[in-house]
Structures are given as structure tokens and as C-alpha cells.
């Protein structure tokens, strides 16, 4: 949900100045309140996926983290359950001011948007049955479906060209999209399988390179 289907790369790779990439440079403490406000401002500009906007704020505007650090946090957040952008903001907030900082960053991400969603719900209740609104919404839904499909296609196109990846991809798509099996059931089988296979392949590759060296 954090990839922006409108751009080829979820995270813009604009060059940053050298000062932003100084890892371990002395930083001032940001504090929970400022974290909350900054994340709120950022999330309110985030249309169609917040992650690229988080990158822009954290790396390019505020320079709270270096580009490399952001990539590391992103890599880690991708193995955790839930939205990557939430984990990235929470980890940065936590580094700055402990659990209060982490919580402030997460609340900044979702608090005001939740109020907006309530407003959306209220408007839907008031006007959802008006024919013209219904028609507009059904057109918007068809457009939203295309955003999701594109998001999926972009990740799919970037898959490594090996049968294992494509079999797992097909299994996930068929189980969830066609057979409509429960998510938990599918995940409980496919995740250990996928991770196990990747682990075995990595081990085999290591053994292979060790043999080649000796």
C-alpha cells in the first residue's frame, strides 16, 4: 500500500547533498510533539501511498535520516507485518525519544487521516444514495482497482527470473484472488515455504562458492 502506482519507483532517488548522508552526525533531539506534527503534515500531503512522501520528508527535507539508513529501515520494515511506512516512522521516532517518540510518529501518521475517514463515512451516509454520487463512486472504484493492479504488476515485473519465485507468485494469486481462501490459512502455508526455500537456496549458494574457493 505504500507504493505509488503513478511512479516507476516507490522511493524517489533524487540526489541528496553530502550533509544529509553523514551517518552519525550530531543531531538535535526532535521530541514527540514535533514528530507528531511533522508526521501529520507529511501524511496529509500523501496521496496514493504515503511512503514516497515519508522519504521526502525524512531524507530530503528534515534530514533526520540518511538515504542509506532509510533503505535499511525499509528493508527491515518489509519483513515485519503491517505497513512499511508505519514501521519506518515508528523506528525513527523511537530512536529519537523512546516509545513516546515512536507512538507520536505513528499517531501523526494516522490520527488526522482517521478523522478524515470519519468525515468520508459521514458524507457517504448522507449522500451515498444520491444517484450522481453513486455513479461517481462506482467510477472511482473502477479507477482504484486499476491502481491496485498496476501496483501488483510492477512488483511482479521486478521478480527474479527463476521458477521458484513465479510458482510462489502464482500460488499466492490463485489462493487469494481466484480460490478466495482465508488470508491466514494461505499465509501460514506459503510464508514458511517461501522463506524456507529462499534460505535453502542461499545456503546452497554459499556452499557452492565455498567449494569453488577451495
Amino acid at each position: 500500500m505504500s507504493t505509488n502506482p503513478g511512479s516507476t519507483n516507490p522511493v524517489p532517488t533524487t540526489p541528496v547533498s553530502a550533509s544529509a548522508t553523514l551517518v552519525g552526525a550530531k543531531r538535535e533531539r526532535i521530541g514527540p510533539w514535533k514528530l507528531f506534527l511533522s508526521c501529520s503534515m507529511m501524511t496529509l500531503t500523501g496521496f496514493g501511498g504515503v511512503l514516497p512522501f515519508a522519504y521526502r520528508m525524512l531524507v530530503e527535507q528534515k534530514r533526520w535520516v540518511a538515504k542509506e539508513e532509510f533503505s535499511e529501515l525499509l528493508a527491515l520494515s518489509q519483513v515485519l507485518p503491517g505497513p512499511p511506512v508505519l514501521h519506518i516512522l515508528q523506528m525513527i521516532g523511537h530512536r529519537d525519544s523512546g516509545w513516546r517518540g515512536g507512538l507520536a510518529a505513528v499517531l501523526g501518521l494516522v490520527a488526522i487521516p482517521t478523522l478524515l475517514m470519519m468525515l468520508m463515512g459521514l458524507m457517504f451516509q448522507q449522500f451515498g444514495e444520491v444517484p450522481i454520487v453513486r455513479q461517481a463512486l462506482s467510477g472511482m472504484s473502477a479507477a482504484a482497482a486499476s491502481l491496485l493492479i498496476v501496483m501488483g504488476l510492477k512488483v511482479t515485473a521486478a521478480l527474479p527470473r527463476r521458477p521458484r519465485a513465479w510458482l510462489l507468485f502464482a500460488a499466492a494469486f490463485i489462493c487469494l484472488g481466484i480460490a478466495r481462501l482465508p488470508f491466514l490459512m494461505v499465509i501460514a502455508v506459503l510464508v514458511p515455504l517461501a522463506v524456507g526455500l529462499a534460505w535453502l537456496a542461499a545456503r546452497a549458494a554459499r556452499a557452492e562458492s565455498a567449494r569453488a574457493r577451495s
Binding site: S77, G82, V85, L116, M117, M120, A142, L148, F173, I178
Partner: protein
């Protein structure tokens, strides 16, 4: 008798929705709440009949069209099912489990030094194909829920092409979809 309210709470749509959403968001590896969308749809539309397919799709479209994280579509569904409290608790149910997991990861010290370890690499490598399949499944499920006629299906296909070929911001396409809908095209 005095425990009747507990019974009522445990059987209320709000409780069922929130526990289901919390369970999903706490396990939603590789794609977050977008990947679990088909499951949420099945739960609220097919299993419990709380809302219709059309309401579900509208909630999703509205979340896409407003600023903030896309996963908050769950919050609009919460609103549709149980009003203000529904929206609030659905948001909490989406956010709390991953936040707690992340907190645990930080406390265990896995968030810095061990980044890039073999296991983490294996997890990431294993999850990428799954995440691609899950996201595409979500798109497929939403498209089959909203594209009732060939014109709507054609529009979805056309928008997919536009998004793949150009760098147009997705919001414009949502707007174009709204206009096409109002004009009675789809």
C-alpha cells in the same frame, strides 16, 4: 444476566470486525492491509452481510482519493458498520498490532545491527513473490467486484495501461473515474 452485555459485546459487529482486522494486520506480511483486502471483503460482505460489495468498493475508492495511508480504508468500513466508534476502533485495530510488533523488534535490538543478516535476506527474498501475488489478487478481487459491465472493465484496463505507460499521478485517474461515472459511462 448481568454478563449479558459481555455477550452482546462479543457478538457485536464492531468487536468481530476489530478482532478480525487486528488479526490480519498483525500477520499481514508482504503488502500490509492491501494484501488482506480480499479477506476483509469476504468477511464483511460475504460472511456477515454487514455492507454490500458496492459500499465496500466505495470505501476503498474514498480512501484512495483522500490523503493519508491507504490502509485506513478499513476505518471507513468501520464507519459504515458502527459509526464514529466503528471508524475509531477500526483504525486502532489496524495500527496497534504492527506498532506492537515493531516495538518488540526495537526492544529486542533487531532494528539496527543485525539488518542484512542471512535470515532477514531470506525472509525478504521469500516474501517478494508472495507480496506480488497478493497485491495482484487484491486488484483482481476489487476489479471483479466493481466492474459490472464491459465499459467499466475496459476503463480499468485502460487506466492500467495509462499508469504503466505514463507518470501521471494516480489521483487524476480517480478523478477521471468519478467524471466517467457521473457521465454514466461506466
Amino acid at each position: 444476566m448481568e454478563w449479558a452485555w459481555v455477550d452482546a459485546l462479543l457478538n457485536s459487529p464492531l468487536w468481530l470486525l476489530c478482532t478480525h482486522v487486528a488479526l490480519l494486520s498483525g500477520t499481514a506480511v508482504g503488502g500490509g492491509m492491501i494484501a488482506v483486502m480480499p479477506d476483509v471483503q469476504r468477511f464483511v460482505v460475504d460472511t456477515h452481510h454487514w455492507i454490500t460489495n458496492e459500499q465496500f468498493a466505495s470505501a476503498f475508492a474514498m480512501a484512495q482519493a483522500s490523503p493519508g495511508p491507504n490502509f485506513l480504508y478499513v476505518s471507513i468500513i468501520g464507519w459504515q458498520i458502527a459509526g464514529w466508534t466503528g471508524a475509531l476502533f477500526a483504525s486502532i485495530a489496524v495500527v496497534a498490532p504492527p506498532t506492537l510488533v515493531c516495538y518488540a523488534v526495537i526492544r529486542l535490538g533487531w532494528d539496527g545491527s543485525r539488518a542484512g543478516g542471512t535470515l532477514q535476506k531470506a525472509i525478504r527474498e521469500g516474501l517478494v513473490p508472495l507480496s506480488a501475488g497478493l497485491m495482484l489478487a487484491s486488484g483482481w478481487v476489487l476489479a471483479s467486484a466493481v466492474d459490472h459491465n464491459w465499459r467499466a472493465a475496459l476503463m480499468t484496463a485502460l487506466f492500467v495501461l495509462i499508469l504503466l505507460r505514463t507518470r501521471l499521478h494516480p489521483l487524476w485517474l480517480i478523478l477521471a473515474g468519478a467524471v466517467a461515472g457521473m457521465a454514466g459511462v461506466v
